[in-house]
């Protein structure tokens, strides 16, 4: 233990000492909160810019450029917080890819709330014909070296990363009830010791695919920049 930095023996009573200590604590809190807030607002534009650049690169990973010819980033609709997409905090953007004016694919942001360490953000591209083109993990906090193989960059299997097994599958080839990890009686692999991460991604992508297939026509028909609201049956 360290020694007292300064012996507070003065004529002042205990109340004054308490008030003085509280005031010092308050000043420290204000100064360091201001420091954090200042850094945050100074770096926010840069952070947002790199996040956008990353997003574009990521969309390129799930949706090949050859499959569409419209201005993808401008053809978006807002989707309100949705149970099927796992987006709980805010409305998310859904991009619509078209080829020669015909619906080609939907690029959807979804999330799994039940990862091993919380939320796993996903980006999916669903073909208009109902197949999942590809899934990518956009954010996660799974254990490094154990559950983080859901991110293909961290996957040891470089030739065929775990997440690519969903590519080009739809409910025509994999029935809805088989869209699970093998441990749950489905048909997708998981890695030993880290089933929870795989299960979360598998189930979330199944939910999102089912939702997109079901709502496809409505999603493509809405005018750009409008809002999609779930119509209760």
């Amino acid at each position: 233990m360290s020694e007292p930095l300064e012996v507070p023996l003065r004529d002042s009573g205990p109340l004054r000492i308490a008030v003085r200590t509280a005031a010092i604590m308050l000043v420290f809190t204000l100064v360091f909160t201001a420091l954090m807030a200042g850094t945050y607002s100074a770096t926010a534009p840069l952070v947002a810019a790199s996040a956008k650049k990353e997003k574009l690169a990521l969309i390129g990973e799930v949706l090949p450029f050859a499959l569409y010819d419209n201005a993808l980033l401008d053809d978006w609709i807002e989707v309100l917080a949705d149970k099927e997409l796992g987006v709980t905090d805010d409305a998310t953007r859904l991009y619509r890819a078209r080829l020669k004016g015909q619906p080609a694919a939907l690029v959807i942001e979804a999330a799994a709330a039940d990862g091993y360490s919380g939320r796993i953000g996903l980006l999916l591209a669903v073909k208009a014909s109902g197949e999942l083109l590809a899934v990518r993990v956009t954010e996660h906090r799974e254990t490094p070296g154990l559950g983080d193989y859901i991110n293909p960059n961290k996957d040891r299997n470089k030739s065929q990363p775990w997440i690519t097994q969903f590519s080009n599958l739809g409910f025509d080839s994999v029935p809805r009830e088989r869209w699970r990890v093998k441990k749950d009686g489905g048909q997708f692999d998981q890695r030993a010791g880290a089933t929870i991460s795989a299960r979360a991604v598998t189930n979330a992508s199944g939910r999102a695919l089912a939702w997109a297939t079901q709502q496809r026509d409505k999603l493509f028909d809405l005018p750009a920049h409008s809002r999609f609201e779930e119509s209760k049956p």
Partner: protein, 229 residues
């Protein structure tokens, strides 16, 4: 041995955060599943320890004894947050690799321990050096840790290095059909490795002490290096 040399030697070996103080186990056990992750976390920890020791040593005259712990935590958390944001904004590529480790450092009690035990009582230069030395002591042990676990668990070394240096790639040490040794990747395996490393260090120290005693009994002056052990 000068005071600064002793601070450095304390951090790297004699009072090593992991092997002797056995502090900071949470990030150690969680992140040391491979060498690259382990060293990445270690390097981020060095930066945080250096800056938090520096900040608290500079402000130590202003901090009342009774509320030192909350103030220390506030300063450490603010330092980590600022580093996290600065990395994200200015070194974005590196942030993509190290980013998830930086917030983890707050859980490393070694940062608070050094601030409380050293920076609160010592001058700027000594405190900064202490933060650096303790950080270096953490890096080399967690790096060794990661290497042992990766080798035993996956049969590779340096996997994932292409995220930091795109031209390099991991090395397969054991044959490609090495089945893996799952327990080395799981937390229990981390404890086994920790026990082995501590035992190794104690053995080295005991051997050095033994030599010292033998030299003394033969009337020879002890070598300068063994004074520290």
């Amino acid at each position: 041995m000068s005071a600064y040399k002793e601070i450095a030697w304390n951090g790297i070996w004699k009072q090593n955060t992991i092997l002797v103080q056995v502090l900071g186990l949470c990030p150690l056990l969680a992140v040391s599943t491979n060498f690259v992750n382990a060293v990445s976390l270690g390097l981020a920890t060095v930066v945080v320890m250096l800056l938090s020791n520096l900040a608290i040593s500079a402000l130590r005259a202003l901090i009342p004894y009774e509320i030192r712990i909350p103030v220390f935590i506030l300063i450490i958390a603010a330092t980590v947050t600022v580093i996290d944001l600065a990395f994200n904004a200015f070194l974005h590529d590196l942030y993509l690799v190290l980013g998830i480790f930086i917030p983890l450092i707050v859980t490393n009690c070694i940062v608070l321990a050094r601030v409380e035990a050293f920076a609160a009582k010592n001058g700027l230069r000594a405190s900064t050096l202490d933060g650096l030395a303790m950080g270096v002591g953490f890096v080399w042990v967690i790096g060794l840790f990661g290497a042992v676990r990766e080798l035993a668990g996956q049969g590779t070394l340096f996997s994932g290095i292409e995220m930091i240096f795109p031209t390099l790639s991991g090395i397969q040490i054991f044959p490609a059909d090495y089945p893996g040794f799952l327990i080395a990747m799981l937390p229990p395996g981390a404890f086994f490795v920790l026990g082995l490393l501590i035992a190794c260090r104690n053995w080295l120290d005991a051997r050095a002490n033994q030599r010292l005693r033998e030299q003394r009994s033969h009337g020879q002056p002890p070598a300068a290096t063994s004074v520290a052990t």
